[in-house]
């Protein structure tokens, strides 16, 4: 889905992903983890990508046959000059807005893998992967 980079869409994005993932019968904890990670990634796009101008955020969700959920969130905004620096816990470029600088740290903690690809001036794509626990291990 594609939506505007407005802060009101942060709830829309994480709720839409959670609703889609429900068909895999996730645990409450897993749904919470996914919602949190999506919220972080989308908030990054809203806060940083377009510098006060409203741009578009694209979000794709799919899953594999072994219940790995793959979520891709991308923007065509300013891009990230130094991805390593951006991913450091507590690093933030906007402390005045009470940003904790924990976005990527949270994504990494709540997902199995986080991949960031970015081209300055072209945009950023974050890919989150999370393996859901098998619900019926003896089946």
């Amino acid at each position: 889905m594609v939506f505007d980079s407005l802060s009101s869409n942060e709830a829309f994005a994480r709720s839409a992903v959670a609703a889609f993932v429900m068909q895999l019968d996730p645990t409450i904890g897993e749904i919470g983890d996914i919602k949190t990670a999506v919220s972080e990634a989308v908030t990054n796009c809203v806060v940083h990508a377009y510098h006060g101008i409203t741009g578009k955020i694209r979000l794709n969700v799919r899953f594999t046959s072994d219940h790995i959920v793959i979520i891709r969130i991308s923007d065509k905004g300013c891009g990230i000059e130094d991805i390593h620096k951006a991913m450091e816990p507590l690093y933030t470029t906007s402390p005045e807005e009470d940003r904790a600088g924990l976005g990527f740290a949270v994504m990494q903690s709540f997902c199995d893998s986080v991949n960031v690809r970015s081209v300055p001036g072209r945009g950023t794509t974050v890919t989150l992967k999370k393996k859901l626990s098998p619900r019926y291990p003896n089946a």
Binding site: E10, A11, G32, S39, D98, R99, A100, L102, A105
Partner: protein
Amino acid sequence: MKSKMNGSELTLYVTGEIDHHNARRIRETADGLIQQKHPTLLNLNFSGVSFMDSSGIGLIMGRYRTMKLYGGRLKVTEIPKGLRRMMELSGLSGLDVLERGFDENECN
């Protein structure tokens, strides 16, 4: 947002989902009340919080700084189980703002 003044202690009942969008409204309410009432203790009651991303951590750290500036203290109480991982990850436990007992119960 409901609030309660008890002597010099102010309790704010934070409800709903704390994300970047909602944090602004909560921050403005909290800071307005702090400036108006100068509490010695700000108690953020989180029992009604159903979701929180790292914006909630920013919100807590910001209010911690504001209360310190006024010579007061901050406590975050009745933290729902679902928010524990986020709180642990934030390093907030080192600031002694999370309700006592939070670190001991069922975290491991």
